[in-house]
Symmetry: C2
Subunit: 164 residues, 2 copies
């Protein structure tokens, strides 16, 4: 299945967390949550062991925030495309003159509810809360197996080329 | 100058962002801001180039959140020690039976104000807002040269050994 990030234009594809063109990043792959609630989005990832928290065996807080950040902006683009009746990546179709849809984070709040274990596949889900002009608000959860370890809320803003 | 993180007990020293015992982490070193406002804390860091944002030349959002997270919890411990008239690391003195002072993040909000450039030394400062029981609230800024690129607010909670 093509992930949202697979459709990012090349110039936006160098993020350590989710860029397909980053030589050694995490390359997160976000999708619609077809096995759960398909109005939501999901990404699954087992962060490399190097990203330990202070006490070994736990994922460090910065990595958790990073996962929310990358999945959140990918999801914002997907939610915007859905709301506009567009297909994600339609800007890559031959002869398309549609502008790419990309969002950047304006504000991210992460609530750390319990330590997040290492060496477990984490599932991060996003749900759309609000679209208003260039702004999108969404909420996210991070689960390790059946444990809710962290949640987040993001305000993302549509990227606009200067002069556009 | 001894950094706050140099005084962490060994069991808390394995964080990718700030642990002195992490084999390849960032090893952030937070201090009182003696060249600025000494009631605040500061850490200086030039994040490795691998942590690129989507568009090359910018630090990725997750790394920015990580810097705030590590500097914030270190600063919370320093603010608590100061408020209690304790010296940071007094638990490491010979014959000390004082418990170590460590904080964990309950909630972190990051406002991304503008892209943060790579290959520039970043300065992250923290200021105490409130101490109430086990809770500390603080606010932070991230500067790249004279540019304010991001700010944050953290609620940190004092770590308590189970059964203590």
């Amino acid at each position: 299945m093509t992930a949202f990030q697979d459709e990012y234009p090349e110039k936006f594809s160098h993020c350590f967390g989710c860029g397909k063109s980053h030589p050694s990043g995490l390359r997160l792959k976000s999708h619609w949550d077809m096995e759960g609630n398909p109005i939501d989005t999901i990404v699954s990832v087992t962060p490399p062991e190097i990203y330990s928290g202070g006490v070994p065996g736990h994922v460090y807080g910065g990595m958790i925030a990073a996962l929310f950040d990358c999945h959140g902006t990918a999801s914002a683009a997907a939610f915007a495309c859905r709301a506009e009746g567009r297909k994600i990546g339609d800007w890559n179709l031959p002869d398309s003159d549609l502008p790419p849809v990309r969002y950047v984070t304006a504000s991210l709040t992460v609530d750390f509810l319990r330590p997040t274990p290492q060496n477990v596949e984490l599932k991060i889900r996003a749900r759309l809360l609000m679209i208003e002009g260039r702004k999108i608000e969404l909420e996210m959860t991070l689960m390790a197996d059946d444990l809710l370890c962290a949640k987040a809320r993001m305000l993302a803003v549509r990227f606009q080329e200067k002069g556009a």
